[in-house]
Symmetry: C2
Subunit: 343 residues, 2 copies
């Protein structure tokens, strides 16, 4: 995921202004976003997870103050702040609970602490729902009244936005689309969460690598074998390269991934019936820029056309996300804006 | 499904008043519903599908006028009318499109024709979403900010209500929870809709009977066999009776149905994370009134507790619907009320 957005000059930004803070396991992205969803300032600082959330919030607030000072702005020029973190979380309480890869952040009142530190109201959201809101607001979903975002990477994340409403759920566990069951059998694949048959156990980069390992063990011929023998490690990127170089197994496994995503897409269409199903995250095989990415997308569309009800199947737009790694901070800024406008 | 609600006297009804019209393949239910969701007048007329929708709307309007006259009321005493029909439909356009069992009603502007006939604004909804709204407003879902309703019968219907919003979808195909995929394999069971692996192909009464037929063909011992030999026809009701009389196969198949519903419940919890998952429709094995119904419900709860994320699994309330066959007309009256109050 890249920071694909070149910030616009402050002189072109439209008030009111918002700050989006997107906390990940490695980096914290901080963007100043205007009323139209345009980024006019951006920075990224290391999370340094082991130092804990108090330290990170202090450094985040310092970074925001520096960005303000650089532009002769005051904290009061910011209407509201949005904060996104990984789950689990209690959104109404503003608490981060048990983020799997951030043990030092457990059970921390992250929303209120950030609000105290910077003196502005803070809206809190799940990072995947924030990314979905970003795509809905100014990304690939901007023309649609509702979208579902699937983020494809090590796992499969999800975000559901319906008419400006982020589907957080009653217990902050809504939109966990990676954990849709696509195979109820006891023989179904094991998900990282410890349950069987979830989309993530089939459609993630981790699952792709696992299926490749199984196929190689089963003796399937593939150029992957020589690469492994040469000491390389299997990865989604490696399979993509081999698929593009003509390796049938790699291509087959990537298209299988598209099939599983299409299956979950059918369930989402028969539940949410969104205007668009958007595919974000790092594992897009080059997206629209490469033939493999275009084939991957076309296979997902094909599965949906074949298996969903004809009317939504013919109308739902299935496409790649367009904001890349910016979707999260732009999205939480947008969620903060929506809360600000409701007042 | 029964009309379980005894209407209250008009003198106890609170204005504004609404009319709910719930069109089914056999009957059209018409209820006068007050601002608190209480029914103060009710009638049911035959749909007489073959006579077409114009005729049915005329008879519906005549019935409403008679109900008004009986109470010395005028059409102007009705704030708004709600209309529910089976799909497929185009809700924003107010069109019923291709209802599977009502060919004479195809492609008919049912909302506007009813509005013209009775001179009141009409809100239009899918019948299953209407039932969900009814349960959300004054039924088993009344204490929750969001619910998912699964209606268990010949098929499996669905309704999703989130904070007063009925999830109709962009193409009026939202909340079709019977068509969630629970098994992606090519070997999965065929659904009535012509696709494989849908919840309805596993969790409906039709599916229950089919699995019983298969088990009997496979030679499983069961008291069902003697009943068949005596000329009886397999049905959900018959399996329930045999299960209660100690037939192991019947009980096993009914508990399998609960398992499949639990699996779909997990997907819905990981997508919507509702406050409550409500089970409506005729196939509830006696509901809370009979041991089998209680065991059926407990098995669904058990599957969800075992397989959904711990926090929502421990908090979601899973229970039977409480409005029976009244949920639809009460629900559309409630949807009409919500539209009326937004003005």
């Amino acid at each position: 995921m890249s920071n694909s957005h070149e910030p616009i000059p402050l002189s072109q930004a439209q008030r009111p202004f918002f700050v989006g803070v997107d906390v990940g396991g490695t980096n914290i992205k901080i963007g100043f976003v205007d009323d139209l969803g345009q980024t006019f300032a951006f920075t990224s600082i290391p999370t340094e997870e082991e130092k804990g959330p108090e330290d990170a919030i202090e450094r985040t607030t310092t970074a925001i103050r520096r960005m303000l000072a650089d532009r002769q702005m005051q904290m009061e020029d910011i209407a509201a702040v949005g904060l996104g973190t990984p789950g689990t979380m209690d959104i109404p309480a503003g608490m981060i609970l048990e983020p799997p890869n951030m043990p030092a952040w457990r059970n921390f009142p992250v929303r209120d602490r950030l609000s105290q530190a910077c003196g502005r109201p803070v809206s809190y959201a799940n990072d995947a729902n924030a990314a979905a809101y970003g795509e809905y607001w100014v990304g690939s979903g901007r023309e649609f009244p509702s979208i579902v975002l699937l983020t494809l990477g090590t796992g499969v994340g999800g975000g559901i936005i319906i008419g400006d409403l982020s589907i957080d759920g009653e217990n902050s566990h809504g939109s966990e689309c990676g954990h849709i069951i696509i195979d109820y059998h006891d023989t179904a694949r094991m998900c990282g969460c410890g349950q069987r048959g979830h989309l993530e156990a089939y459609g993630s980069a981790t699952a792709l690598v696992k299926r490749a390992e199984e196929a190689l063990e089963a003796g399937r011929p593939s150029s992957l074998r020589a690469a492994l023998d040469a000491g390389q490690t299997l990865s989604g990127l490696m399979l993509a390269r081999h698929a593009e170089d003509g390796d049938e197994l790699s291509l087959e496994l990537i298209m299988e991934t598209a099939f599983y995503l299409g299956i979950a897409g059918v369930t989402l269409i028969h539940t949410i019936d969104p205007g668009a199903l958007i595919l974000g995250g790092a594992m897009n095989f080059g997206g629209h820029n490469r033939d493999l990415g275009r084939r991957f997308l076309e296979r997902i569309r094909e599965v949906v056309r074949e298996r969903a009800f004809p009317v939504p199947a013919s109308r739902v737009v299935i496409d790649y996300a367009s904001l890349g790694g910016d979707a999260g901070y732009i999205g939480v800024a947008g969620i903060a804006r929506a809360a600000y406008r409701k007042k």
